[in-house]
Structure formats: structure tokens, C-alpha cells
């Protein structure tokens, strides 16, 4: 993005602080004044510091980080909501330490939020942070070392550590080093300032920081107050009041003490939007799908979907059943589905592995079932809070034997919502297991999408309790499509015993060679029958060119952003994102044929051709690349990362440039 160039042109002003000068991304740099983005400056807002320099931007990335428990996440989420309310595009990413309570002031303990916001829609977390608010220098150093901050970016840091004998030295050394490295450091006595408004100043810092950011980004303080009221709504007027006071104090501090402001003009939106993370979107999808039961066992990063669902499902007569383990969760769901109420089970990698035997039973018995896997880093316990896309093969091929199931992957937060509705529908139409592959990236990111308009057709139909026609069999496989009408308990005349053993049309156990062949064929044909109903994927960019980038799942925003940018520079690159991984939509082979080169970019492992012992005879390709190569006999190359962090547009851009050269 052009915004990256922002800090490349730097100059030192009189105070010795580094300031941004005009760059291609900066549309306009002006002196103080009322900005168009600020709809209304609140009457109580103090006047702008006359010296403050206002820089107009297309977008920015802000981070707010603290020890966990200090409220940086709440601050970040509120800030994301405020910019969204102001009509800006936004994508927020949670910064989560691996431990619940890492030691205070530790480099690995950063907890908080990254907020990328801009004039137009934002589809991913972006590259590097432009401005960071940190509550101590250690969590800040963690982010610097992780290369998450743009070199020379603006840092607002709590300065109280200077007064703390135990840590003063480490604090001042760090600050000196950061300054020397070109970072623009503003030391702010947050706790001291908060103390003026609240006896337990530690608790209110996050709202003070929120006020600072509202001031710095010329946002509407009134919207900020409203957001605080929403955030603390459940805690009563007193709490809201004191947090608003802190918010205003932060805002005033920025006005009076900081000599720079940013403005990001908002595009006028006329559509109602909802702002949620991917897990909440999944849970809303469960609600909207008409499903009644979700059986689960807690596991990061899937749990928040069930937390939210537990809170709201009962309002519409639904039940979240926390089972004793994932095997029980999955079999419980299978029982409920078998009884006529298509059920969802939500999990992540390790839990998904435990469910595999049961998934096979659902495949064998042709019981509709929706399984959500919010992928995390693996194998084994892996990186519970980090993102990865390495469960594709186990989703498609998992469970022993030939166990065809549908696998689809939401690419956006909006997709998370609709994918559940679609999955339920497919599951019940084809009597199949549908696996939804989300990931930690979507789970922990928030972005607005068009508020869905309720549609009756989303809901599950009532349970069929009509008598079964005489002579009908529980597995009357259609010879063309493999589909059979499902018998649901309660239907007179439909009595049969569903079995995980090989069986014939009557559901009688059968070890006969012919019957087994026939049954496996039928279960497999259903995938083809579904595939016939799918539309070819759309190509982002031209239908032909030098390079086609293929992805799936949460990487879509980053890939398309890089492709857009390079296309603007005249590169003949396009991209294609697959929603259906099994079955794959028709028309893909034709699309691949339109490009000189094809590369899959994924968050799962592929061997590096540069490694000494890696060559064409042993290189492991990324999962989607492997599938594409085998199905379409096309020499699909791949690039992948398993860093646990969301793929960045800059990485995609680099990979594309290398592939093109």
C-alpha cells in the first residue's frame, strides 16, 4: 500500500521530533482546522494546540498494547468500533499472549489490539504498525522484535516507569535505543493523568488512551462517549461516567500536549453494517441457520464462538451443550442430527482430530452434520492462539477409509456468517458432513460487513414425520446422484438400524463385495452431485495474464490487496480464492489455463526449494497446491508461511514479484 511510503520521507522539526512530510499517500497536509472527517467537534473539547500539524491520510495502522488484564484489548475494540461508526473501513486484530497471565512487563506478554483503518474498505490486518500506544516498554520491545512495527513509527508510551527505581534503567535504555533507531517517541504520564480522575488509575488507562487516539485522529468525541456507554453498558451509569471522564482527559491531553494530528476522510456509507469478529459471525450464522443445538468442548481459538452462542442461543430456544470431550460433542451432535435436527459442533485442530472417527460414522450413516474447525497452529497442541491453515487435508481426507465430505472455507468475516447457513443447507440436502474451515485470523479479527437481511429460507425445515412410502428403503441410493431420502425417527414405516458397518439399501449389515462397492460409489457421487450445482470461482483481475495467485480462507484480503496494488503498477497478475475445497467448483482448469504461471499462497507448510536436500522429487507442496496439481495436472507452485501470524499484503507482493521475475 501507498501508506507504506509514509514514513520514508522524514524530517526533524525544531523540537527534535521526527515528523512526517508529504508523501504520495498523504493527500494533503494542512495546518490546524476543522477537518471534514470530524462531523462535529464536541462543545467541551478544548481548542486545538495551534502548532499541531494535521496530516491527511488514506489509512493508518494503530496498535495498543499492554500487559494482559490492563484493558488494551477493550481500548482497541472500542477504537475500532468508533472509527467504524465514523464511516471508516476497519479491520482489527487481537494481539494475544499465549498465556492467560504472562508475567507483568514481559516481552512475550503483549496483549492488545491492532486496528487498521482507512477511507475505503479494509480487508486484512495490513503490514506494519504506524502508531503504537504502549503501557510499558517491554511489551513494546516484544512488538519491535516481532517486526510488527514500521521502522521509525510513532510511539506513545506510559512514562511512569522513569520514576520506578526497579525498572527506570531498563525503561530509559529502551527509550533511548528506540529514539536512536528513528522511532518518534512521545512519553506520556498516563497514570499520573488518570489519577486526577480515578483513584485506581491503573484501571482507567485504557480509556485515557482511547481519548488520546480520538484526539490524534481527529475523531468525534461524541461518538467516543457513546461507544464508552455501549462498552460499559452493563456496568451501570457510575462506571460509564468515570470512564467518559478518562476518555475526555485523554482527548484533552492530546489537544494540549501533542503537536500532530491525523485525518482520515470517511467515505459516506448508506448501508447499515455490523461489526463482529469471525467467531461471533459464525455463532450468528448458527442462529440464522435455524439449527437448534451446538455441541462443543472448549478449545482455543474456537471457544469464543461458543461463549457468545451460549449467551444468545437460548433466546431463540437453542442449546449449547458442553460435552465431556470432543468425541462426545461430535457424537452428541450426530445423535441430534440423526433424530432430525441438524446440529453443529465447533472445535479447533486437536478437537477436530478427536472427532474424526465420529465424522466417519456420520459419513457412513449419511447423517447431516456441520463441523466447524477454527484452525490454529499445529500439530499437537501447537500454537493455540495463532493462525494456520494446515487442517485442509485432514478435513478432506480425515477419518479412516473413504469418507467423502464437503469442505468449505470462509474468506471473510461476512463469509463466516453465511457459511454456516450454507453448510446446514448442504448437509441436509445431501445428507453429508460439511466441514467449515475458519482460522484464528478470522476468529480474532473484527471488520464491518453489510447487515444481513433475514431470509426465511435460511432456516431448517420442520422435521418430516410423515409415513414412509411402502417399499421405500432407508438407503435408496439414486443411481445417478447417490442421493437417498433420509428416514427420521418418528416416521412410521421407516424403522431401520443405522450402522457404521458396511450396509445395503435396507441398512442391513453387508460384507458382500458388490454391495460395498455400490454403497461407496453412492456416497462419493453425492460430492459430484453437489459439484454440479456450483458456479466456477470468480477471478479477481483479468481472466488471463502472467500469474494467477490462488488462495483459500482468511488470506483473501491480503492477497487481493497485493494483487490490486501490483495491477495498478501494470503487472499482469490476478487471483482466485476458493470457497469450496471439496468438491472443487467446475471451471477451474479453464481458469488455470489462462495464466502463464500459477502459485498457491497459504498458511501451511511447504518445503523450501532453497534447502539443500529439497528437490522436485521430495518437495512437499502446500495443501491446496498439492490438490490442484493432482486434480488439474498443472504445475502449480506454492509459497507458504507458518509464522502463526496472518499473511501480510507485503509478503504476497514480494512473492508475486519474485514469481513474475
Amino acid at each position: 500500500m501507498a501508506i507504506e511510503e509514509l514514513t520514508k520521507v522524514k524530517s526533524k522539526n525544531k523540537n527534535g521530533r521526527v515528523e512526517q512530510a508529504s508523501s504520495p499517500a498523504v493527500e494533503q497536509t494542512r495546518g490546524a482546522g476543522v477537518s471534514p472527517a470530524v462531523a462535529q467537534t464536541s462543545p467541551s473539547a478544548p481548542p486545538l494546540k495551534p502548532k499541531a500539524k494535521v496530516t491527511r491520510l488514506k489509512e493508518h495502522i494503530v496498535e495498543i498494547i499492554s500487559d494482559s488484564g490492563e484493558g488494551a484489548q477493550k481500548c482497541g475494540q472500542s477504537f475500532g468500533a468508533i472509527v467504524a461508526r465514523m464511516g471508516l473501513g476497519v479491520w482489527t486484530v487481537e494481539i494475544i499472549p499465549a498465556e492467560i497471565r504472562p508475567p507483568a512487563r514481559s516481552v512475550a506478554g503483549a496483549s492488545g489490539n491492532r486496528i487498521r483503518f482507512g477511507s475505503t474498505g479494509v480487508t486484512n490486518g495490513g503490514n506494519e504498525t504506524d502508531l503504537v500506544v504502549a503501557f510499558n516498554e517491554q511489551v513494546l520491545l516484544g512488538r519491535v522484535r516481532a517486526n510488527e512495527l514500521k521502522p521509525g513509527c510513532t510511539i506513545l508510551i506510559e512514562s511512569m516507569w522513569r520514576e520506578d527505581r526497579r525498572v527506570a534503567e531498563s525503561y530509559s535504555t529502551a527509550i533511548d535505543e528506540l529514539k536512536a533507531a528513528g522511532y518518534k517517541v512521545y512519553e506520556i504520564p498516563m497514570e499520573v493523568e488518570c489519577h486526577k480522575h480515578m483513584p485506581d488509575a491503573k484501571k482507567g488507562k485504557n480509556m485515557f488512551a482511547l481519548g488520546l487516539l480520538i484526539g490524534l485522529y481527529s475523531l468525534d468525541l461524541k461518538v467516543g462517549r457513546e461507544q464508552v456507554a455501549l462498552t460499559f453498558g452493563k456496568k451501570g451509569a457510575k462506571v460509564i461516567e468515570s470512564n467518559v471522564a478518562l476518555l475526555e482527559a485523554g482527548y484533552a491531553y492530546a489537544q494540549e500536549n501533542l503537536d500532530f494530528r491525523y485525518e482520515i476522510p470517511a467515505a459516506k456509507s448508506t448501508e447499515a453494517q455490523i461489526v463482529v469478529n469471525g467467531n461471533t459471525a459464525l455463532a450468528l450464522g448458527v442462529l440464522a441457520s435455524g439449527m437448534e443445538i451446538c455441541a462443543m468442548y472448549p478449545i482455543t481459538p474456537a471457544t469464543s464462538a461458543s461463549h457468545y452462542l451460549s449467551d444468545v442461543f437460548e433466546v431463540v430456544g437453542g442449546v449449547v451443550h458442553q460435552a465431556e470431550d470432543e468425541i462426545a460433542a461430535c457424537t452428541f451432535a450426530i445423535g441430534a442430527s440423526y433424530a432430525g435436527k441438524c446440529t453443529v459442533t465447533i472445535t479447533s485442530g486437536p478437537g477436530f482430530s478427536l472427532k474424526q472417527e465420529a465424522i466417519g460414522l456420520a459419513v457412513m450413516g449419511e447423517i447431516p452434520l456441520v463441523v466447524v474447525n477454527v484452525q490454529r497452529g499445529g500439530p499437537s497442541t501447537g500454537q493455540p492462539t495463532k493462525t494456520e491453515q494446515a487442517d485442509l487435508m485432514s478435513a478432506i481426507y480425515g477419518s479412516h477409509g473413504d469418507a467423502p465430505k464437503v469442505v468449505l472455507a470462509p474468506a471473510t468475516i461476512e463469509d463466516c456468517f453465511y457459511s454456516v447457513i450454507m453448510a446446514r443447507k448442504i448437509a441436509e440436502t445431501f445428507n453429508m458432513v460439511v466441514v467449515i474451515l475458519s482460522d484464528a485470523n478470522l476468529a480474532n479479527s473484527q471488520a464491518p460487513f453489510t447487515r444481513p437481511v433475514f431470509d426465511e429460507a435460511w432456516l431448517a425445515p420442520p422435521i418430516d414425520q410423515s409415513a414412509v412410502p411402502t417399499g421405500a428403503k432407508p438407503y435408496d441410493w439414486d443411481s445417478k446422484t447417490g442421493l437417498a431420502r433420509r428416514f427420521i425417527p418418528g416416521q412410521p414405516g421407516g424403522q431401520h438400524t443405522l450402522t457404521g458397518l458396511a450396509h445395503d439399501e435396507d441398512s442391513h449389515v453387508a460384507y458382500d463385495a458388490e454391495i460395498n462397492q455400490r454403497a461407496i460409489r453412492a456416497r462419493s457421487l453425492k460430492l459430484a452431485a453437489l459439484q454440479k450445482t456450483l458456479k466456477p470461482p470468480t477471478v479477481f483481475g483479468d481472466q488471463t495474464g502472467d500469474l494467477l495467485v490462488i488462495g483459500w480462507g482468511s488470506t483473501k484480503g491480503a492477497i487481493e490487496e497485493a494483487v490490486t496494488e501490483l495491477r495498478e503498477q501494470g503487472k499482469k497478475v490476478s487471483s482466485m480464492h476458493l470457497t469450496f475445497l471439496q468438491p472443487m467448483a467446475p471451471g477451474i482448469k479453464e481458469i488455470l489455463a489462462g495464466f502463464r504461471k500459477v502459485i498457491a499462497i497459504e498458511n501451511n507448510w511447504s518445503d523450501l526449494p532453497s534447502d539443500e536436500i529439497i528437490d522436485e522429487s521430495n518437495r512437499r507442496y502446500t495443501m491446496l497446491a498439492t490438490l490442484l496439481r493432482s486434480r488439474y495436472l498443472v504445475d502449480v507452485d506454492c509459497f507458504s508461511e507458518c509464522r502463526g501470524t496472518p499473511l501480510k499484503p507485503a509478503t504476497v507482493r514480494r512473492v508475486i514479484m519474485e514469481a513474475l521475475s
Binding site: 461471533t280 430456544g317 437453542g318 451443550h321 410423515s466
Partner: protein, 340 residues
Amino acid sequence: MNTITNNSMPTAPGLASANNALLELYKEQYELEDYQKGVPRWCSGCGDNAILTAVQRLCRDEALAPEKTVFVSGIGCSSRFPHYMNTYGVHSLHGRALPIAEGIRLARPDLKVFVNMGDGDCFSIGAAHWVHAVRYNMNMLAMVHDNNIYGLTKKQASPTSPKGLKTNTTPRGAYLDALNPLTVTLGIANVSFVAQVVDWIPKLLYQTLSEAYHHPGFSFVRIIQRCPEWLPTHLDEYLRDPERVLLLTHDNGLTLDTDLTKRYTKIEEHDPSDIHRAREVASGSDPIPVGILYRNENVPRYEETRSDTRLRTSALIRKGLEAEFDKFTIWPKGHQPQHA
């Protein structure tokens, strides 16, 4: 049963026609054949046959509508059970019958749910589900066909194999003391019905299963079952010597016919509401205590705690969904509707 009521029909709209269809099938009486299906493939003399006969009789006597009855099993010889019942059935996975039955029960309180498991099925691979099923206390009748051995997989030690029992995995005798399923079950929170019976006293088997069926909650019945194929003499002494069976009787438990009391003279008056005595009785294995050890009808049932009797109409779902959307909605300036 005189009528098929539909007050516990699934809560979906538009089912009137389905209900009518059900009413057409209204039957005042069922015959044993209505529940029989196929020819059981168990070995001759296998205790599973006796259990099947007792259960089919029970279904007939209770006039259970076959289409409203589901038998769920795991994997094992005993788990073939549902295939021989002309009801709905799920022959599922080794160890997982209970959670499947629970899912059915939560989704469809109008169905009668029975569970058949082997000792390996329930006490070994499915042990976690057993413990939690007791705690959920969902209304179903769970039978463990306990032959002290893995039958289907050809004679391996099970958790209830007595110490010293020679099996294919313990050729020099089982190393560990057997697990006592009764004391374990009686130690779990929310336990509401525990009984033990043997396959070779048909009358008691029937009576016990009938009491278990009528218990509103999770009825756990351990059935000591003969496996002549792998352990042909294992239970001989218990069969031969009536003194090695202890009959439990009480006004609130089983009442014993005189032909039984004539043969089995070891009898204890045991009040099934007395959990302390139940635990003491449960810890004895010789003589085998037979009858109802514990019964408490007042334990809450999970499906009732969790289920919602409201009709899940599309209007209800829509209302809930829109309210959630409202919480997260950002309205463009001037577009915010009045209600939000």
C-alpha cells in the same frame, strides 16, 4: 397405551399433517412380532438372547410405537442388539452409544431411548461418557451386557474381568482387580437409578428392566451376561448355586414371586432410596446382588433443564437474530431506525 399423544411432538411448525398420519397408524396393541427383526447371530446360549427377549416383551407390554422408539448401541457382540429390534436404531461406534443417545434425547423428547453396551464399550473406551451420562441424568434406559470379556474381538480382558482370568491379552491371568461398575455409578453426582441383574433369571430380568424403563431419568442396569463362547464355565457356580445370588426386595423395589423366593433364599430387604446401604450392597460381588440398588425420581433431568417448550417459529428466530444484529450494527447517519 390407548392413544398416541402428540404433546411432545417436535416443536416445528406445520406438522399437523404428519401428526394426522401418525394418528392413522394408531394401534391399541402391539404383538411381539412388531418388535422382532431378523435372526440374532449370537452364539447359542449367549446371554444376549435372553436380554433381547426381555426387552421385546417390555416393548410389547408398554405398547411402545416402534417408530417412536430408538435403540442405540456401540460396537461389540451386544451392540448388534438394535439390528434385531424392529424399531429405529443406531449401531454406532465403540464406546460412543451414550452421547449419541443423549443427542437424540435432547433433540427429540418425544422418542423413547434405549442404550445397549458391552462392558468394554461402557466401562473402558466409553468410560468418560458413562460417568457423564449419569451426571446428565437424561431419561433413557441404559443396559450394560457385562460378560466380563471382550466378546466380538475374541476374548481380551475387560475392566470387569476378575483378577487372574486367563484371556488372550492376559494368558497368565488378568493382572488387575476388576472395576466395580455399581460402586462407581453410585458415586457419581446425580445418580438416579442403579440396578443389577443376571441374564439367567428371566423373570427378574424382565422386572428389573421394566422398573428401569419407568424410572424418569438415566436408568443404569448392569446385566451379568454369559458368554459361553469365550468363558464357558466362568459363571457356572453362580448358575448352579442359588446361594450365590442375593435378591434385593422392597415395597419400593422389586417384589418377588414365590417361585423365585423358593429357589433363591438369600434375600435382603433393601430400600432403594437408601444410597448408603446401596453402596454397601454394591461393593459385594459374591453373592451377586440382584435388584434395584438405588432409585431417586427427583434428580433433575438435563433435557428438561435445557429444553425450551416454545415453538421455534421463524418469527422467534428472526426476533432474536435481529436483536443481536442491532447490538453490533453501525447505522449510517440518518438511517438509524426508531426501534434500535
